[in-house]
């Protein structure tokens, strides 16, 4: 995986294409990104949209992604709809959405059928047991990577919120909606107060 280059140097020589992509191009582009994306599509979405097709500058992409990340729901799915509709209205949003989800749904459904039929076979059970251990490890690594900036910036409020949510959901097993209805306003209020104190 190549490290992200500074966005300006990639995009500067050429402006994003002036011709908006067709519905078929949107569908195909998102299908490709999706099928390339093992363990997450975002990296491939950035590569496809910004570097390969030049449909957006890196800044536009980051802003669009930030919007989709802080709205609820699967981030890349949100991104496909927002992106597609920007070029081709509702139909464009649907084309990108269908491209992103259609082909992998077919694959995953075939895997689900195989699992329900052969899931009890001993060799397969052992393989899946090994894969799930590794897959959990990958998820934990992502969590630690995301945590590093909080530790580096000594963001104690952030770390406290993180820990509280972890305990409420992971250990106490409280329902998600209830936890969020308390945690979101509280976290925003605490962040607001601490930021103001710092700037004052």
């Amino acid at each position: 995986m190549s490290p992200d280059s500074p966005p300006a140097t990639i995009v500067a020589p050429e402006l994003p294409t002036s011709v908006p992509p067709s519905l078929i191009a949107l569908f195909m582009a998102f299908a490709k990104m999706s099928l390339a994306g093992f363990g997450g599509v975002l990296v491939w979405a950035r590569r496809g949209i910004v570097e390969q097709h030049r449909w957006m500058t890196a800044e536009e992409f980051n802003e669009t992604f930030a919007l989709c990340h802080f709205l609820p729901g699967p981030n890349v799915v949100n991104l496909s709809v927002v992106f597609g509709s920007r070029f081709r209205g509702v139909a464009g949003g649907i084309a990108a959405f269908a491209g992103l989800l259609g082909p992998p749904i077919v694959i995953v459904t075939v895997l689900a059928a195989l699992y329900s039929r052969f899931g009890q076979i001993d060799a397969l059970r052992r393989i899946l047991a090994g894969v799930s251990c590794a897959a959990v490890g990958l998820l934990i690594a992502v969590v630690f990577r995301m945590m590093m900036p909080l530790i580096r910036d000594r963001d104690f409020v952030g770390l406290l919120v993180m820990l509280a949510v972890f305990i409420a959901i992971g250990l106490l097993r409280l329902p998600l909606p209830a936890v969020l209805l308390v945690a979101i306003p509280l976290s925003i209020a605490m962040t607001f107060v601490t930021r103001r104190r710092v700037s004052a």
């Binding site: 363990g39 920007r86 749904i105 689900a112 251990c133 990958l138 909080l150």
Partner: protein
Amino acid sequence: MSSENNPVLTLVWTFGLMSLFAVGGANAAIPEMYRVAVEVQHWMTDKQFADVFAISQLSPGPNVLIVTLIGYSVAGLGGALAATLAMCVPTAVLAYGVSRLLRRSAGWRWPAIVQAALVPLSIGLMGASGLILALSADRTWVAGLLTAATAALAFATRLNPLWLLLAGAFLGFAGVI
């Protein structure tokens, strides 16, 4: 209530609601999926949930496809489709609406405060996902060791995650776990 007898309706209702609370994406919603699928509805065992997570990570596409697998195990093909659309369509419509509103006021960004407040929240949720999945998947100390080693390798190196999954598959097949 009719959703009591119709599993597809239960799926649509469950994941439609969950999608609106899935702050931080699909992996952050895993504890809620586990709570509903294993503890409340008894759709699958704890071990099957870990399997389904493994399969979703092995297949290409967005992480949200774990929902497709849960839907399939509840109600076959129709369940797979219903669960996936229920999890994706409501927030897609919301995202479309919000992005259109924002485009009228060009240059609008999320207030930095909201971003700063939501990031730790979604890290906490994903940490809870990690814990719940580890408790389901790691039944032996060797399994726990494999998870820890994978986490350390993925954290410290830029190794393609697929290799680590394949290594897990190999060790599992060899009967080490």
